[in-house]
Amino acid sequence: MAEKGVKVFGMWASPMAIRLEWALRLKSVVYEYVDEDLGNKSDALLRYNPVTKKVPVLVHDGKPVVESAIIVEYIDEAWKDGYPIMPADPYERAQARFWANFADEKDLNGFVQCNAAVYPVFTATGEAQGKVVHEAQQCLKTLEKALEGKKFFGGDAVGYLDLVVGWYAYWLPIIEEVSGASVVTDEELPLMKAWFDRFLAVDVVKETLPPRDKLLALNTARREQLLTA
Protein backbone atom coordinates (compact mmCIF):
# COMPACT_ATOMS: atom_id res chain seq x y z
CA MET A 1 0.00 0.00 0.00
CA ALA A 2 1.64 3.24 -1.11
CA GLU A 3 2.02 5.86 1.57
CA LYS A 4 0.33 9.11 0.58
CA GLY A 5 0.46 12.62 1.94
CA VAL A 6 2.98 14.96 3.47
CA LYS A 7 4.61 14.57 6.87
CA VAL A 8 7.06 16.85 8.62
CA PHE A 9 9.24 15.27 11.28
CA GLY A 10 10.36 18.19 13.42
CA MET A 11 10.69 19.52 16.92
CA TRP A 12 8.53 22.36 18.19
CA ALA A 13 11.48 24.57 19.13
CA SER A 14 13.55 23.85 16.02
CA PRO A 15 14.17 26.80 13.72
CA MET A 16 15.20 24.42 10.95
CA ALA A 17 11.93 22.48 11.05
CA ILE A 18 9.80 25.61 10.93
CA ARG A 19 11.24 26.49 7.52
CA LEU A 20 9.41 23.52 6.09
CA GLU A 21 6.13 24.61 7.62
CA TRP A 22 6.51 28.09 6.16
CA ALA A 23 7.27 26.69 2.72
CA LEU A 24 4.42 24.17 2.81
CA ARG A 25 1.93 26.78 3.99
CA LEU A 26 3.00 29.23 1.29
CA LYS A 27 2.15 26.45 -1.15
CA SER A 28 -1.15 25.71 0.69
CA VAL A 29 -0.04 22.12 1.20
CA VAL A 30 -1.72 20.17 3.98
CA TYR A 31 0.75 18.25 6.12
CA GLU A 32 0.97 16.23 9.29
CA TYR A 33 3.49 17.47 11.85
CA VAL A 34 5.29 14.85 13.92
CA ASP A 35 6.96 16.36 16.99
CA GLU A 36 10.09 14.41 17.89
CA ASP A 37 11.67 13.97 21.29
CA LEU A 38 15.27 14.47 20.25
CA GLY A 39 16.48 12.55 23.28
CA ASN A 40 14.41 9.56 22.21
CA LYS A 41 14.03 9.61 18.45
CA SER A 42 11.20 7.65 16.87
CA ASP A 43 11.81 4.54 14.80
CA ALA A 44 10.10 6.29 11.93
CA LEU A 45 12.56 9.20 11.97
CA LEU A 46 15.54 6.86 12.09
CA ARG A 47 14.07 4.82 9.24
CA TYR A 48 13.47 7.87 7.07
CA ASN A 49 16.81 9.49 7.86
CA PRO A 50 19.37 6.81 8.67
CA VAL A 51 22.30 8.88 7.44
CA THR A 52 22.12 11.95 9.69
CA LYS A 53 19.25 10.91 11.99
CA LYS A 54 18.31 14.58 12.36
CA VAL A 55 15.17 16.65 12.09
CA PRO A 56 13.63 18.02 10.05
CA VAL A 57 12.66 15.36 7.54
CA LEU A 58 9.93 15.81 4.96
CA VAL A 59 8.17 12.64 3.88
CA HIS A 60 6.21 13.06 0.66
CA ASP A 61 4.17 10.07 -0.43
CA GLY A 62 6.52 7.87 1.56
CA LYS A 63 9.75 9.35 0.17
CA PRO A 64 12.00 11.19 2.62
CA VAL A 65 13.84 14.44 1.91
CA VAL A 66 16.53 15.62 4.32
CA GLU A 67 18.35 18.91 5.10
CA SER A 68 16.05 21.87 5.61
CA ALA A 69 17.41 24.18 2.89
CA ILE A 70 17.33 21.32 0.39
CA ILE A 71 13.80 20.45 1.53
CA VAL A 72 12.64 24.02 0.90
CA GLU A 73 13.91 23.80 -2.69
CA TYR A 74 12.22 20.42 -3.02
CA ILE A 75 8.92 21.88 -1.82
CA ASP A 76 9.24 24.66 -4.38
CA GLU A 77 9.82 22.15 -7.19
CA ALA A 78 7.28 19.55 -6.09
CA TRP A 79 4.49 22.12 -5.96
CA LYS A 80 5.80 24.29 -8.75
CA ASP A 81 2.43 25.77 -9.66
CA GLY A 82 2.05 27.27 -6.20
CA TYR A 83 3.69 30.26 -4.59
CA PRO A 84 7.16 30.83 -6.11
CA ILE A 85 9.82 30.37 -3.44
CA MET A 86 13.04 30.28 -5.46
CA PRO A 87 13.82 33.19 -7.78
CA ALA A 88 13.10 32.42 -11.43
CA ASP A 89 16.41 33.67 -12.79
CA PRO A 90 19.41 31.29 -12.46
CA TYR A 91 21.74 34.09 -11.38
CA GLU A 92 19.31 35.25 -8.68
CA ARG A 93 18.98 31.64 -7.56
CA ALA A 94 22.74 31.34 -7.22
CA GLN A 95 22.79 34.52 -5.14
CA ALA A 96 19.97 33.31 -2.88
CA ARG A 97 21.72 29.96 -2.31
CA PHE A 98 25.01 31.75 -1.65
CA TRP A 99 23.47 33.85 1.11
CA ALA A 100 21.62 30.85 2.51
CA ASN A 101 24.95 29.03 2.80
CA PHE A 102 26.53 32.12 4.33
CA ALA A 103 23.80 32.27 6.94
CA ASP A 104 23.64 28.57 7.69
CA GLU A 105 26.83 26.69 7.26
CA LYS A 106 30.11 26.30 8.92
CA ASP A 107 32.66 27.37 6.38
CA LEU A 108 35.13 24.64 5.36
CA ASN A 109 38.08 26.90 6.01
CA GLY A 110 36.90 27.86 9.46
CA PHE A 111 35.59 31.25 8.38
CA VAL A 112 32.76 32.08 10.70
CA GLN A 113 29.42 32.29 8.98
CA CYS A 114 26.27 33.65 10.53
CA ASN A 115 24.93 30.70 12.50
CA ALA A 116 28.38 29.92 13.81
CA ALA A 117 28.79 33.57 14.81
CA VAL A 118 25.37 33.87 16.42
CA TYR A 119 25.44 30.69 18.47
CA PRO A 120 28.19 31.80 20.87
CA VAL A 121 26.07 34.83 21.82
CA PHE A 122 23.80 32.38 23.59
CA THR A 123 26.35 31.40 26.21
CA ALA A 124 28.94 34.18 26.23
CA THR A 125 29.16 36.12 29.47
CA GLY A 126 31.04 39.09 30.84
CA GLU A 127 33.79 40.57 28.72
CA ALA A 128 33.72 37.76 26.19
CA GLN A 129 30.15 38.67 25.29
CA GLY A 130 31.16 41.99 23.77
CA LYS A 131 33.56 40.35 21.35
CA VAL A 132 31.11 37.63 20.41
CA VAL A 133 28.29 40.13 19.83
CA HIS A 134 30.55 42.21 17.60
CA GLU A 135 31.41 39.18 15.48
CA ALA A 136 27.76 38.21 15.16
CA GLN A 137 26.93 41.75 14.11
CA GLN A 138 29.66 41.74 11.46
CA CYS A 139 28.23 38.57 9.93
CA LEU A 140 24.70 39.92 10.03
CA LYS A 141 25.84 43.21 8.49
CA THR A 142 27.24 41.28 5.56
CA LEU A 143 24.00 39.37 5.22
CA GLU A 144 22.04 42.60 5.50
CA LYS A 145 23.54 43.73 2.18
CA ALA A 146 21.26 41.25 0.46
CA LEU A 147 18.30 43.22 1.84
CA GLU A 148 19.28 46.62 0.48
CA GLY A 149 16.49 48.34 -1.41
CA LYS A 150 14.04 45.50 -0.77
CA LYS A 151 11.16 44.72 1.55
CA PHE A 152 12.21 41.10 1.85
CA PHE A 153 15.27 39.12 0.76
CA GLY A 154 13.01 37.75 -1.95
CA GLY A 155 12.06 41.24 -3.15
CA ASP A 156 8.50 42.47 -2.69
CA ALA A 157 7.44 39.14 -1.27
CA VAL A 158 8.96 36.45 0.90
CA GLY A 159 11.28 34.03 -0.87
CA TYR A 160 13.80 31.26 -0.28
CA LEU A 161 16.32 33.35 1.61
CA ASP A 162 13.64 34.83 3.87
CA LEU A 163 12.57 31.29 4.80
CA VAL A 164 16.17 30.23 5.50
CA VAL A 165 17.11 33.29 7.53
CA GLY A 166 13.65 34.06 8.94
CA TRP A 167 14.20 32.18 12.16
CA TYR A 168 16.50 35.00 13.32
CA ALA A 169 13.47 37.32 13.49
CA TYR A 170 11.95 35.27 16.30
CA TRP A 171 14.80 33.32 17.85
CA LEU A 172 17.43 36.07 17.99
CA PRO A 173 15.41 38.40 20.24
CA ILE A 174 14.87 35.42 22.54
CA ILE A 175 18.60 34.64 22.54
CA GLU A 176 19.21 38.31 23.31
CA GLU A 177 16.75 38.27 26.20
CA VAL A 178 18.15 35.06 27.66
CA SER A 179 21.79 36.12 27.41
CA GLY A 180 21.37 39.83 28.04
CA ALA A 181 23.19 40.62 24.81
CA SER A 182 22.06 43.19 22.27
CA VAL A 183 22.78 42.17 18.71
CA VAL A 184 20.18 43.39 16.23
CA THR A 185 19.64 47.06 17.06
CA ASP A 186 18.34 50.00 15.07
CA GLU A 187 21.81 51.54 15.16
CA GLU A 188 23.82 48.51 14.09
CA LEU A 189 21.40 46.60 11.85
CA PRO A 190 18.52 48.88 10.83
CA LEU A 191 17.58 46.97 7.68
CA MET A 192 17.59 43.64 9.45
CA LYS A 193 15.52 44.99 12.34
CA ALA A 194 12.92 46.39 9.96
CA TRP A 195 12.84 43.13 8.07
CA PHE A 196 12.30 41.23 11.36
CA ASP A 197 9.05 43.15 11.87
CA ARG A 198 7.88 42.64 8.30
CA PHE A 199 8.71 38.95 8.37
CA LEU A 200 6.95 38.30 11.67
CA ALA A 201 3.82 39.94 10.22
CA VAL A 202 3.61 37.42 7.37
CA ASP A 203 0.59 35.11 7.85
CA VAL A 204 2.33 31.74 7.44
CA VAL A 205 4.95 32.88 9.93
CA LYS A 206 2.45 34.12 12.51
CA GLU A 207 0.51 30.86 12.26
CA THR A 208 3.44 28.63 13.04
CA LEU A 209 5.68 30.33 15.59
CA PRO A 210 6.01 28.39 18.83
CA PRO A 211 4.72 30.16 21.98
CA ARG A 212 7.24 32.75 23.05
CA ASP A 213 7.11 32.01 26.76
CA LYS A 214 7.64 28.31 26.13
CA LEU A 215 10.59 28.99 23.82
CA LEU A 216 12.04 31.51 26.27
CA ALA A 217 11.77 29.02 29.13
CA LEU A 218 13.40 26.26 27.09
CA ASN A 219 16.30 28.46 26.06
CA THR A 220 16.77 29.86 29.56
CA ALA A 221 17.00 26.34 30.93
CA ARG A 222 19.33 25.20 28.15
CA ARG A 223 21.62 28.15 28.70
CA GLU A 224 21.84 27.43 32.40
CA GLN A 225 22.62 23.82 31.61
CA LEU A 226 25.41 24.80 29.21
CA LEU A 227 26.90 27.35 31.56
CA THR A 228 27.07 24.96 34.49
CA ALA A 229 28.26 21.97 32.48
Binding site: K63, V65, R93, A94, F98, F102, K106, D107
Partner: protein, 238 residues
Protein backbone atom coordinates in the same frame (compact mmCIF):
# COMPACT_ATOMS: atom_id res chain seq x y z
CA UNK B 1 28.25 26.21 -27.58
CA UNK B 2 28.46 29.60 -25.91
CA UNK B 3 29.54 32.26 -28.37
CA UNK B 4 32.33 34.65 -27.49
CA UNK B 5 31.83 38.39 -27.64
CA UNK B 6 28.05 38.21 -27.36
CA UNK B 7 27.92 39.33 -23.71
CA UNK B 8 27.88 35.68 -22.74
CA UNK B 9 31.55 35.35 -21.92
CA UNK B 10 32.55 32.89 -19.26
CA UNK B 11 35.60 33.47 -17.13
CA UNK B 12 36.84 31.24 -14.33
CA UNK B 13 39.06 32.52 -11.53
CA UNK B 14 40.91 29.60 -9.99
CA UNK B 15 44.00 28.14 -8.40
CA UNK B 16 45.40 25.17 -10.30
CA UNK B 17 45.56 22.75 -7.35
CA UNK B 18 42.05 23.35 -6.08
CA UNK B 19 39.58 20.46 -6.07
CA UNK B 20 36.79 23.03 -6.14
CA UNK B 21 38.16 24.36 -9.40
CA UNK B 22 38.17 20.82 -10.85
CA UNK B 23 34.42 20.66 -10.27
CA UNK B 24 33.81 23.87 -12.19
CA UNK B 25 36.11 23.03 -15.10
CA UNK B 26 34.66 19.52 -15.34
CA UNK B 27 31.12 20.94 -15.43
CA UNK B 28 32.05 23.43 -18.14
CA UNK B 29 33.74 20.69 -20.16
CA UNK B 30 30.69 18.43 -19.85
CA UNK B 31 28.50 21.20 -21.19
CA UNK B 32 30.92 21.94 -24.01
CA UNK B 33 31.16 25.57 -22.91
CA UNK B 34 34.10 27.80 -23.80
CA UNK B 35 35.65 29.88 -21.07
CA UNK B 36 38.71 31.91 -20.22
CA UNK B 37 40.73 30.60 -17.29
CA UNK B 38 42.49 33.05 -14.99
CA UNK B 39 44.99 31.64 -12.49
CA UNK B 40 44.90 33.54 -9.20
CA UNK B 41 47.87 33.57 -6.88
CA UNK B 42 46.15 33.38 -3.51
CA UNK B 43 49.17 34.83 -1.73
CA UNK B 44 48.88 38.05 -3.73
CA UNK B 45 45.98 40.47 -3.59
CA UNK B 46 43.90 40.11 -6.73
CA UNK B 47 41.58 43.00 -7.48
CA UNK B 48 39.28 41.00 -9.71
CA UNK B 49 38.89 38.29 -7.07
CA UNK B 50 38.19 40.82 -4.33
CA UNK B 51 35.60 42.53 -6.49
CA UNK B 52 34.01 39.22 -7.54
CA UNK B 53 33.97 37.52 -4.18
CA UNK B 54 34.12 40.23 -1.53
CA UNK B 55 32.53 38.04 1.15
CA UNK B 56 34.93 35.07 1.08
CA UNK B 57 37.72 36.23 -1.28
CA UNK B 58 38.07 32.64 -2.44
CA UNK B 59 38.29 30.76 -5.69
CA UNK B 60 36.75 29.38 -7.77
CA UNK B 61 34.59 32.19 -9.09
CA UNK B 62 32.66 31.96 -12.33
CA UNK B 63 32.08 35.24 -14.12
CA UNK B 64 29.25 35.11 -16.63
CA UNK B 65 29.13 38.30 -18.68
CA UNK B 66 30.98 39.87 -15.76
CA UNK B 67 28.52 38.71 -13.08
CA UNK B 68 30.17 36.58 -10.39
CA UNK B 69 28.92 33.26 -9.04
CA UNK B 70 30.83 31.90 -6.05
CA UNK B 71 31.18 28.51 -4.32
CA UNK B 72 31.93 25.49 -6.44
CA UNK B 73 28.67 23.61 -5.86
CA UNK B 74 26.62 26.73 -6.53
CA UNK B 75 28.64 27.38 -9.67
CA UNK B 76 27.97 23.84 -10.90
CA UNK B 77 24.24 24.28 -10.22
CA UNK B 78 24.32 27.64 -11.97
CA UNK B 79 26.03 26.20 -15.04
CA UNK B 80 23.35 23.52 -15.16
CA UNK B 81 20.51 26.05 -14.89
CA UNK B 82 21.92 28.82 -17.06
CA UNK B 83 22.82 26.55 -19.98
CA UNK B 84 19.96 24.09 -20.22
CA UNK B 85 20.39 23.60 -23.95
CA UNK B 86 24.09 22.76 -23.72
CA UNK B 87 24.94 19.16 -23.02
CA UNK B 88 23.32 16.91 -20.42
CA UNK B 89 21.48 18.11 -17.28
CA UNK B 90 23.50 17.51 -14.16
CA UNK B 91 20.47 17.10 -11.92
CA UNK B 92 17.89 14.43 -12.73
CA UNK B 93 14.39 15.33 -13.88
CA UNK B 94 12.63 13.65 -10.97
CA UNK B 95 12.03 16.07 -8.09
CA UNK B 96 12.81 13.59 -5.32
CA UNK B 97 15.96 12.38 -7.08
CA UNK B 98 17.09 16.00 -7.36
CA UNK B 99 16.77 16.47 -3.62
CA UNK B 100 18.70 13.25 -3.04
CA UNK B 101 21.47 14.43 -5.39
CA UNK B 102 21.67 17.80 -3.61
CA UNK B 103 21.81 16.00 -0.26
CA UNK B 104 24.76 13.83 -1.26
CA UNK B 105 26.47 16.80 -2.89
CA UNK B 106 26.22 18.67 0.41
CA UNK B 107 27.36 15.52 2.25
CA UNK B 108 30.60 15.40 0.28
CA UNK B 109 31.61 18.80 1.65
CA UNK B 110 29.91 18.67 5.05
CA UNK B 111 31.07 15.20 6.04
CA UNK B 112 33.71 13.72 3.73
CA UNK B 113 35.75 16.83 3.11
CA UNK B 114 35.49 18.25 6.61
CA UNK B 115 36.72 14.96 8.12
CA UNK B 116 39.44 14.77 5.49
CA UNK B 117 40.74 18.22 6.42
CA UNK B 118 40.76 17.07 10.02
CA UNK B 119 43.45 14.52 9.18
CA UNK B 120 45.96 17.34 8.83
CA UNK B 121 44.45 19.75 11.32
CA UNK B 122 46.44 19.10 14.47
CA UNK B 123 49.64 17.54 15.71
CA UNK B 124 47.68 15.10 17.87
CA UNK B 125 48.06 11.68 16.27
CA UNK B 126 44.99 10.23 17.94
CA UNK B 127 42.85 13.11 16.63
CA UNK B 128 44.29 12.61 13.16
CA UNK B 129 43.54 8.88 13.33
CA UNK B 130 39.96 9.64 14.34
CA UNK B 131 39.69 12.02 11.37
CA UNK B 132 40.86 9.21 9.10
CA UNK B 133 38.19 6.90 10.52
CA UNK B 134 35.51 9.54 9.96
CA UNK B 135 36.69 10.17 6.43
CA UNK B 136 36.51 6.47 5.62
CA UNK B 137 33.08 6.25 7.26
CA UNK B 138 31.88 9.09 5.06
CA UNK B 139 33.26 7.28 2.03
CA UNK B 140 31.38 4.15 3.13
CA UNK B 141 28.17 6.19 3.27
CA UNK B 142 28.86 7.47 -0.24
CA UNK B 143 29.34 3.88 -1.40
CA UNK B 144 25.80 3.23 -0.19
CA UNK B 145 24.61 6.40 -1.89
CA UNK B 146 26.18 5.26 -5.13
CA UNK B 147 24.31 1.98 -4.96
CA UNK B 148 21.09 3.91 -4.27
CA UNK B 149 21.53 6.49 -7.02
CA UNK B 150 23.26 4.72 -9.87
CA UNK B 151 20.42 2.42 -10.91
CA UNK B 152 21.00 -0.80 -12.74
CA UNK B 153 24.12 0.27 -14.58
CA UNK B 154 26.09 1.09 -11.41
CA UNK B 155 28.25 3.51 -13.43
CA UNK B 156 27.46 7.05 -12.28
CA UNK B 157 25.71 8.68 -9.34
CA UNK B 158 23.72 10.39 -12.10
CA UNK B 159 22.26 7.06 -13.27
CA UNK B 160 22.26 7.06 -17.05
CA UNK B 161 25.14 9.47 -17.26
CA UNK B 162 27.43 11.74 -15.30
CA UNK B 163 25.44 13.82 -12.83
CA UNK B 164 25.72 16.37 -10.07
CA UNK B 165 27.20 14.14 -7.39
CA UNK B 166 29.72 12.72 -9.89
CA UNK B 167 30.89 16.30 -10.50
CA UNK B 168 31.02 17.22 -6.81
CA UNK B 169 32.85 14.07 -5.73
CA UNK B 170 34.86 14.05 -8.94
CA UNK B 171 36.57 17.27 -7.92
CA UNK B 172 38.17 15.36 -5.07
CA UNK B 173 39.54 12.54 -7.24
CA UNK B 174 42.96 14.14 -7.83
CA UNK B 175 43.23 14.73 -4.08
CA UNK B 176 42.24 11.11 -3.40
CA UNK B 177 45.04 9.94 -5.68
CA UNK B 178 47.54 12.23 -4.00
CA UNK B 179 46.45 11.18 -0.52
CA UNK B 180 47.03 7.56 -1.42
CA UNK B 181 50.42 8.19 -3.02
CA UNK B 182 51.70 10.60 -0.41
CA UNK B 183 50.49 9.00 2.83
CA UNK B 184 48.92 5.70 1.88
CA UNK B 185 45.39 6.61 2.94
CA UNK B 186 42.80 5.25 0.50
CA UNK B 187 39.57 7.22 0.67
CA UNK B 188 38.11 4.81 -1.85
CA UNK B 189 39.39 1.28 -1.81
CA UNK B 190 38.58 -1.74 -4.01
CA UNK B 191 38.06 -3.83 -0.86
CA UNK B 192 36.12 -1.38 1.29
CA UNK B 193 34.27 0.61 -1.38
CA UNK B 194 34.41 -1.41 -4.60
CA UNK B 195 31.73 0.60 -6.42
CA UNK B 196 33.46 3.90 -5.71
CA UNK B 197 36.85 2.49 -6.63
CA UNK B 198 35.48 1.47 -10.03
CA UNK B 199 33.71 4.82 -10.32
CA UNK B 200 36.99 6.64 -9.69
CA UNK B 201 38.71 4.82 -12.54
CA UNK B 202 35.75 5.48 -14.80
CA UNK B 203 35.88 9.16 -13.87
CA UNK B 204 39.58 9.45 -14.65
CA UNK B 205 39.01 7.96 -18.11
CA UNK B 206 36.59 10.72 -19.14
CA UNK B 207 37.96 13.33 -21.54
CA UNK B 208 36.11 16.06 -19.69
CA UNK B 209 37.73 14.96 -16.43
CA UNK B 210 41.20 14.75 -17.95
CA UNK B 211 40.79 18.31 -19.20
CA UNK B 212 39.73 19.48 -15.74
CA UNK B 213 42.24 17.73 -13.48
CA UNK B 214 45.64 19.18 -12.61
CA UNK B 215 48.79 17.19 -13.45
CA UNK B 216 49.16 14.49 -10.79
CA UNK B 217 52.94 14.80 -10.45
CA UNK B 218 52.73 18.53 -9.78
CA UNK B 219 49.92 18.00 -7.29
CA UNK B 220 51.86 15.26 -5.53
CA UNK B 221 54.96 17.42 -5.29
CA UNK B 222 52.82 20.21 -3.83
CA UNK B 223 51.31 17.84 -1.30
CA UNK B 224 54.65 16.43 -0.20
CA UNK B 225 55.96 19.94 0.39
CA UNK B 226 52.92 20.77 2.49
CA UNK B 227 53.17 17.56 4.52
CA UNK B 228 56.83 18.27 5.23
CA UNK B 229 55.96 21.82 6.30
CA UNK B 230 53.48 20.57 8.87
CA UNK B 231 55.69 17.61 9.89
CA UNK B 232 52.87 15.24 9.20
CA UNK B 233 53.02 11.69 10.55
CA UNK B 234 50.76 9.19 8.88
CA UNK B 235 48.32 7.86 11.49
CA UNK B 236 48.57 4.13 12.07
CA UNK B 237 45.79 2.37 10.19
CA UNK B 238 43.16 0.42 12.17
Amino acid sequence: MATAGSGDELKVLGAWASPFLVRVLFALQLKGLRYEYVEVDLKEKNELLLASNPVHKKIPVLLHAGKPVCESQLIVQYIDEAFPASGPSFLPADTHARAVARFWGAYVDDKLLSSWKGIFATKDEEENAEAVRQTLAAADALEGAFRECSGEKLEWFGGDGVGYVDIVLGGLVPSMNVLELAVGIKVVDPDRTPLLAAWKDRFCALDAAKAAMPPLDRLLENAKKYLAEISFKTPASK
